[in-house]
Symmetry: C2
């Protein structure tokens, strides 16, 4: 079994901690390990480091190698440009085909939090077993805990029995990010699941699906595969990638494919998509205040606030719903619920040419 | 003419900028000069440095000498312990009597902001002239701009004519900090003035008043004066001071004295008593946001907030009425209107023995 960890992504949503050189998955926001280290740690009991591939951009490859010394350097696949998840997964699939003829590949985002890693691994193992036996596309459906409008949903279909003690369902339909009313109906129905962005299938299965639904991508991947190990490899990769369309695997394949299955799961997943999410998943005192990253924080008449300040005392007085993030060269003070707007600050800094702060 | 600048006071209200070692008047909060430097700069066109006395505690004497190299070292009078303004002023008065037999002394707080220093000086000069001619106690009454409940008020009495082109009034009554309703009535009447804490009188005048109303203090001052220039000076000062009652000049003398005059004045005075006041007097953008101390601040959907961060970028997102103060080792985020509570943080730090942060 192989793992493919998708480690692209810019560092805007966790500014000022996340920077262009250090996007979220390279940060130790949740613990003293970085998020990608946690991702690797979590899957290692199932998959050996030599079978873990990381797909990333050139800018972050060096830091990734530093953070993950156990992963062989040749397993860090570098995309010349970002072309969304279909290309990323296709590139990993041809690498696995080249290396191992065929194998189950567990595709994982690099930036999620998981509260129950043992349960997570048993779900992944069951999904891998199903992907192997059925030669089908398998995903993980997360039991929704709120009517979140920022995630895609999957509707559960007919039962496909049990696999390794887990329920297996057919996916009846994929639903893009819903509006609030839809999301509430999804939650109420009990038959909708968050799309985890985790995919489990054989390399041969996904490449066959890509050939059917994304023939241009498939042609490009074939060209790349043919150049592998040759002097022209990097040049070919760059030339092909530049011409690829930017398509997500969900839109490009999953929504169109016939045999898609899911394992409904509940292992304490969190997206950690913004400072707001960090507050949500952090341990809080009785007034709803959280101090993360080893912060020394004092709260005086303060409610529902977050301090992330690894180095410096932060004193809050008389405020509610405030997020404070302190770094060496920049400080963010944000209303809770507004942390999506942090990227506007990044945009302003970019427009003003303050590259050292990006 | 002598100036006496009262430079006592702890560094709690402007924490984390102000510290035990650096109370407010030693900080460059308002400009690139510290507040006491501004106070000296402001009075210097009227009074030569050799006639400017500073009364302070031992802890701050060194920093004062560094900040005010033009003031002769012997003009920095060190109180062994703080004993409120009556003792402070009395000590300065006996020093002036010893040095100059008698002279007008202009007693000034060390920590006020003045927008119009030329007008300020013409008021002080007129007050000095009145104090000289009438051998009376003269104060400066500030035209109130709001029904402030944190200041003492003076009620204007009969006119005492003009002096150097300024109106001179008798003070009919001193009123301690009023409640809101009283303060509003004072403001409406047009005949009440804020007590500026600036006093102008001859050394002989105030010492006579102290003899009448605070005989114990007068006896102590006489003992101190007798020891001046002798080997026993420091020991006598320490022994006498320790036994003195802690009384303000307002309560101890002004409220009881018969001949008290005031010059109504309007020279853009501000107390700079807290971070809230700093916001009030700072230049603000059209949304009411101020960035002081050379701060690099970004405001995204922010109103009526203050950033004081001389070194580091501060980005505010989606907040209102927030004060952010950034220093090398501590960060304050405070609701506007709550900056009085900053001293509670100082108390907590003290209780926890975090002396390096005090």
């Amino acid at each position: 079994m192989h793992a493919v960890i998708m480690a692209g992504g810019r560092g805007t949503r966790f500014w000022p901690r996340s920077r262009e050189k250090k996007p979220k998955h390279l940060l130790d926001i949740l613990s003293d390990r970085t998020i990608i280290q946690e991702t690797v740690d979590r899957i290692r009991p199932l998959i050996r480091p030599k079978n873990i591939l990381i797909v990333t951009g050139r800018r972050h490859a060096g830091e990734l190698k530093k953070q993950l010394p156990e992963i062989p350097a040749e397993n860090i696949l570098i995309e010349p440009v970002g072309r969304n998840t279909a290309a990323c997964i296709g590139l990993a699939a041809v690498h696995i085909r080249k290396k191992a003829k065929d194998d189950v590949m567990v595709v994982l985002p690099s930036d999620h939090g998981i509260a129950d890693p043992a349960e997570y691994r048993s779900v992944i193992a069951a999904a891998a077993s199903a992907a192997e036996k059925k030669s089908a596309l398998v995903t993980v459906g997360l039991k929704p805990t709120s009517p979140h409008t920022g995630f895609g949903y999957m509707e559960g279909g007919a039962s496909a029995g049990q696999v390794s003690g887990k329920k297996l369902l057919r996916v009846k339909a994929f639903r893009e990010k819903p509006d609030r009313k839809q999301a509430e109906a999804f939650l109420k129905s009990g038959n909708f699941y968050w799309n985890s962005g985790m995919f489990i299938w054989k390399a041969s299965t996904i490449l066959a699906e890509i050939r059917q639904f994304l023939p241009d991508l498939h042609a490009g991947l074939t060209t790349i595969e043919a150049a592998m190990g040759k002097a022209s490899e990097a040049k070919t990769l760059a030339a092909v990638y530049r011409r690829l369309a930017s398509v997500s695997i969900d839109y490009g394949v999953m929504e169109k494919a016939k045999d898609v299955f899911m394992i409904p799961a509940d292992f304490g997943w969190s997206d950690v998509g913004s400072w707001d999410t960090l507050w949500e998943i952090s341990a809080k005192d009785e007034k709803g205040n959280a101090a993360t990253g080893g912060s020394f924080a004092l709260f005086e008449e303060v409610q529902n606030s977050l301090v992330h300040s690894p180095k410096k005392l932060v004193a809050l007085v008389g405020v509610q719903d405030i997020i404070v993030v302190e770094t060496k060269d920049a400080l963010l003070v944000c209303r809770r619920g507004k942390s999506q707007d942090v990227k506007k600050i990044v945009d302003i800094l970019e427009a003003r040419g303050k590259t050292q702060l990006l």
